[in-house]
Symmetry: C2
Subunit: 167 residues, 2 copies
DNA sequence: TATAATTTTCAATAATTTTTGAAAGTTTAA
DNA sequence: TTAAACTTTCAAAAATTATTGAAAATTATA
């Protein structure tokens, strides 16, 4: 496999994996491209490499910036903006986990809490609803906490212990 | 909040969360409905509760069965099939993690391995591609292993230790 | 075996999501 | 200022994904 093919393969694989961490294809592909690029890239370069429109590029780069994964860079004497992504995988994982937790998991946990707190009217179906949503709430809470601890701060004791445990 | 409203809320919340674990809305909603239902339900009941068509119900129940999350039940003297979902949240998490790993994560890890093994031609861009995909490969490998260990078997030492650690 | 009950299939349609591209907006430098 | 270089916006179009519903297939019973 040659460089060009390998890069395309990576961009495409990472792009289709976007759904796994809750972003769309173009956004994931832009991030992938920047991730393996030794130098920051301009809008033009991203458009050319991924064969996507200017508008698409602009919107998705903006979203990546909102996520805190991509940064603008300005070069002296140049008008255009250069974009680069976080290069450290641990840091990347930390940011993604935090954002997903904040945007999706925490709100769901809150809703589960509310649902599991409805008044028990003594019927079987109500008891079941309360029991099951409570169980789900507790699991989600534990998973969310674990996820955040697992990725937070590189040298933190939880992650190092975890690494040892699973080896 | 009354029972009916709470149930709808749960089905809808869980449904929109479907993307988080990689399934579509209807599939997630059916699972949610069965999850809080004290008794197994028939196709007719699912259709009525979720206001979806027979075909949609059939296809998505089938997928849930493929995932190993839903089971068919037959009642003596009755022709129609009853469906029920796994009720234990730990077991549910285990099944989902295993399936996602098998369907999505493992194939990506395999691809990352291949990409990071391309010949180093000495150029900066090739070095960067190799370095970054290797880092991602290792992270994905660790995360996948951790995920599987974290959810596998209720009384296993990893999970109990984890629980203690994060409390 | 015939028939009635039920489930499955799948082409057509609908809904949703993504992408485009051109106009509007912004910034910099002469 | 003005104009050129560049970025952002957003309505319309395209692409993708989900849903329907009726016909075909299957299954159980008489």
């Amino acid at each position: 496999m040659e460089y060009q093919e390998a890069k395309q393969q990576f961009v495409s694989t990472w792009g289709s994996l976007g759904t796994l961490w809750g972003i769309n294809k173009a956004m994931a592909q832009i991030q992938a491209l920047l991730f393996v690029s030794p130098k920051p890239l301009t809008t033009e370069q991203i458009m050319a490499e991924l064969q996507i429109s200017r508008g698409n590029t602009s919107m998705n780069v903006r979203q990546l910036i909102d996520w805190g994964i991509v940064k603008k860079e300005l070069k002296v004497g140049e008008r255009k903006e250069y974009y680069s992504t976080e290069k450290d995988v641990q840091e990347l994982a930390r940011i993604i986990a935090k954002e997903r937790s904040r945007r999706e998991i925490r709100p769901v946990i809150k809703t589960l809490k509310e649902i599991s707190s409805i008044k028990d009217d003594g019927t079987e179906k109500t008891k079941e609803l309360i029991k099951q949503t409570k169980a789900l709430h507790d699991l989600a809470e534990t998973a969310d906490t674990l996820l955040n601890k697992a990725v937070s701060h590189k040298q933190n004791w939880v992650s190092s212990t975890l690494i040892k445990m699973i080896k």
